[in-house]
């Protein structure tokens, strides 16, 4: 990152923890069909990486967190979920019927891809929601050009 942290322990912890958290979050998301895990847990772990960045910032750094854009990203999660569900309707299925998704694989494997798509949606929604709640609770950033604070 561009700025130095306030102490050497925090900086080392930051550098060690952030990549591990991101890789583990993506692993939990993708491997969620075979092991404990899934979209919700992956979203929280990915949000923890971002929140750790915000916690460890020095107090005198100018902040501009744009919470309403984060909320727009959180709204993309349910939209991806519903689009995956609606995708099987033109091919003769019901809402969220994964067996009729237009993918060139076997029918059971289509279920796996459908589950993966909706888990991506859940991950996006949970991650952005947790970051936006954290920003709403935490410090107020600098006002943008229209005078809006968050």
């Amino acid at each position: 990152m561009k700025q130095k942290h306030s102490s050497i322990i925090l900086e080392v912890a930051y550098r060690l923890l952030i990549p591990v958290l991101i890789v583990f979050g993506v692993y939990v998301l993708i491997h969620g069909e075979y092991s404990p895990g899934g979209g919700f847990q992956a979203g929280v772990i990915l949000a923890l990486a971002v929140i750790l960045n915000r916690v460890l910032e020095p107090a005198d750094v100018k902040k501009n967190y744009w919470t309403y854009k984060t909320i727009a990203l959180a709204g993309m999660g349910p939209v991806i979920y519903m689009m995956t569900g609606l995708l099987s309707i033109p091919f003769g299925g019901h809402f969220l019927e994964y067996g009729l998704l237009p993918l060139p694989v076997h029918e059971v494997e289509r279920h796996l891809y459908g589950i993966l798509f909706i888990e991506v949606g859940v991950t996006l929604g949970v991650m952005a929601t947790i970051i936006s709640i954290f920003d709403s609770l935490g410090k107020v950033g600098d006002p943008d050009e229209r005078g809006n604070l968050l």
Binding site: G32, E33, Y34, S35, P36, G38, G39, D60, V61, K62, K63, T67, Y68, I71, A74, G75, G77, P78, Y81, M82, G85, F95, L96, Y98, V108, E109, H111, L112, G114, I115, I118, E119, G121, V122, G125, V126, A128, T129, I130, S132, I133, D135, S136, L137, K139, V140, G141, D142, P143, G147, N148, L149, L150
Partner: protein, 112 residues
């Protein structure tokens, strides 16, 4: 630091303990942990345990139930989480923004 509990705190503590006693009493009517004859284990659980891997391709039964059999529930759950974020933003952040623009009587402005 010596701390004494107030009357109100003691009242709510007693209320918590009373509700806890009622719940502990009603827990004694629940079926025990390893009983196989309860309605939970008789209706649909056997289908999930035997057919989930061949029907959905996912060896993790929890993911199969959450994301395939009951995926409509999970969709509404995601919407509920999104609503929680929007409501927190509306309760805390917009109030601060209004105080910044209109110059409220208390000092809610930026401190960075």
């Amino acid at each position: 630091m010596k701390h004494t509990f107030s009357k109100r705190s003691l009242f709510y503590g007693g209320l918590c303990l009373a509700v806890l006693a009622i719940m502990a009493y009603s827990m004694s009517f629940l079926p025990s942990y390893t009983e196989m004859d309860t309605p939970v284990h008789r209706n649909v659980a056997e289908r999930y345990m035997t057919q989930a891997e061949s029907e959905t391709g996912s060896p993790n039964m929890v993911t199969a139930v959450l994301a395939d059999y009951r995926s409509l529930d999970t969709m509404i759950e995601t919407t509920v989480i999104f609503t929680a974020g929007v409501v927190t933003y509306a309760m805390i952040a917009i109030r601060r923004r209004k105080n910044y623009i209109w110059g409220g009587d208390e000092d809610h402005e930026t401190e960075a």
